[in-house]
């Protein structure tokens, strides 16, 4: 697999450090307000995230869209916490929590876009992850596309056999049928995924690969 940058470990290492820095910046939960440098850190993280996405060839609206779809998840954690903040600071705390969360996830998005799966795999190895873990990580990325495609195809086939009803009924409306259908579909996906992986492993060993 080709990586999209010459030094994936450096980009990944710096990116992860920046994500942690953005995530740890004070957000005013202690009632002392949001320090100015926190806003600077979050803005810098956001700008770097957009530049990483642009370097990977993404247009700005597409890069922004990749961040915005995560906003509801960040909001789900943010709003209840802001509600519990000291009175008079709730608005500022909410803004700080949203900015902190979005800065960190946007930087993660930018990193993933810039490095791609091959860059991430190389970066993880070069940063010193245990070899077994890195091997399983790489194998997961290799299998992911085919497994996801197979899952989508199976869901479409199920929907085609149930015109007007979708792949599943509600569990509340039809618990036994829904759970049984889910169990069979996912079990079939498991068997196909593992059997394909076993066939690939046998072929690799037949070509002289190490056990």
């Amino acid at each position: 697999m080709l990586s999209t940058t010459r030094r994936p470990a450096v980009v990944l290492g710096l990116g992860l450090a920046a994500i942690v820095a953005a995530a740890m910046s004070p957000v005013g939960l202690d009632g002392r307000g949001v320090p100015a440098w926190s806003w600077i850190v979050w803005l810098a993280a956001f700008v770097w995230a957009l530049s990483l996405s642009r370097m990977a060839g993404l247009r700005l609206p597409d890069a922004l869209r990749r961040v915005i779809w995560l906003a509801p998840v960040v909001a789900m954690f943010t709003l209840p916490a802001a509600w519990l903040a000291p009175a008079g600071t709730r608005g500022l705390v909410a803004a700080g929590l949203m900015a902190r969360g979005l800065a960190a996830v946007s930087l993660g998005t930018g990193l993933a876009t810039r490095l791609g799966p091959s860059g991430l795999n190389l970066g993880v190895r070069q940063l010193g992850a245990p070899q077994r873990l890195a091997d399983v990580f790489e194998a997961t990325l290799v299998s992911l596309t085919s497994v996801l495609r197979r899952a989508h195809a199976m869901l479409r086939a199920r929907e085609a056999r149930r015109p007007g009803f979708g792949a599943w009924s509600d569990i509340v409306a039809s618990p036994a049928e829904t759970v049984r259908g889910f169990g069979r579909l996912v079990a079939t996906l498991l068997l196909r995924s593992l059997e394909r992986a076993e066939a690939v492993e046998r072929a690799r060993r037949a070509r002289g690969g190490e056990a």
Binding site: M24, V27, F137, D170, A187, S193
Partner: protein, 314 residues
């Protein structure tokens, strides 16, 4: 249940990263010594499957859907250590590629759904299959293990958010437990449905639990059971009834309740940690330390009985 970046304090994030690292390191070491090695490609396919299974949403009611987490399923199919490795890789892929779960919160997510979820799920499944070493036992064990795994993971998630100062512990824990009881039932049902099909078509794929009625990974069961016990002792005990039990009520009625004396030097009199102002926290800590002390004494006793038993037969 994936905690995003920006919601854990530095201390909580650091501690959970250390605990997660220790758990994954133990899993890698234990997996290396397994007599039946499994190629990385197979584990990678299993991880990709868990990822895909998590993306298949099941409608629960109009406007609401749920999905499988798969920690207990991974434990039953692969065993506790490979299950933990698979869940760690799944969480890493989700965090790095899809920002589902944060980087600073990665340690906490691994502890919740990896260490806690997988080992609690395995403990439940292994104990049931010890009693019912049949395919049906594996399915029932998986169902119970999945329910336990969900509650352990939810409790740990609430604990990290509470300790980070985001929400009060007394508020977040009951909410997490109540909501995740329903989610745990869904996880249990979906896990059981998958296992029921797998044991019918390919029973050889269920490699995590023994079909001969023995527990292959007692250390993993021990950690899983302790995790479940800590959830009950530490996080349900502060909500226990304060009404007197039968003996206390009889003592009050008959007038000899005042003659009760605490043992001199008792470390946690009346199940309360001394010097801690918060009553809930004092009870929770006493419960946690008491559970760990009971587990340690039980382990020491079983070790000495095992040694003396071997000496008799030597």
């Amino acid at each position: 249940m994936h905690i995003p970046d920006g919601f854990l304090s530095a201390g909580v994030a650091g501690v959970t990263w250390v605990v997660a690292g220790a758990g994954v390191a133990s899993a890698l070491r234990a997996e290396r010594s397994d007599p039946q090695p499994m190629p990385a490609g197979i584990l990678g396919a299993a991880a990709a499957f868990v990822f895909a299974a998590q993306m298949i949403n099941v409608p629960v009611a109009p406007g609401t859907s749920g999905h499988l987490v798969g920690a207990a399923l991974a434990a039953v199919l692969l065993g506790p250590w490979r299950g933990l490795i698979v869940m760690t890789v799944v969480l890493a892929v989700q965090a790095l590629l899809f920002q589902d779960g944060g980087i600073s919160a990665f340690g906490a997510n691994v502890v919740d759904m990896g260490v806690g979820g997988v080992l609690a799920g395995y403990a439940g499944a292994a104990i049931v299959t010890r009693v019912m070493p049949t395919p049906r036992g594996a399915v029932i064990g998986g169902v119970l293990g999945a329910f336990a795994a969900t509650l352990v993971a939810a409790t740990l998630t609430g604990l990290w958010l509470g300790l980070s100062g985001l929400y009060p512990l007394r508020g977040i824990l009951p909410i997490m437990l109540v909501t995740h009881t329903a989610i745990g039932l869904l996880e249990a049902a979906l896990t059981g449905a998958i296992l029921a099909t797998v044991v019918r078509w390919r029973p050889d794929l269920v490699r995590g639990v023994s079909s001969q009625g023995r527990i292959a990974n007692p250390a993993a069961v021990m950690v899983g059971v302790i995790a479940m016990a800590l959830v009950v002792a530490g996080f349900l005990s502060p909500f226990a009834s304060s009404l007197p039990d039968g003996l206390e009520h009889a003592a009050e009625q008959l007038g000899f309740a005042g003659r009760a004396r605490a043992m001199p030097g008792a470390p946690f009199p009346d199940y309360v940690m001394p010097f801690i102002e918060s009553a809930g926290l004092a009870t929770a800590l006493a419960g946690i330390l008491g559970t760990l002390a009971a587990a340690a004494v039980g382990w020491l006793v079983s070790r000495s009985l095992g040694a003396s038993g071997r000496a008799v037969h030597d």
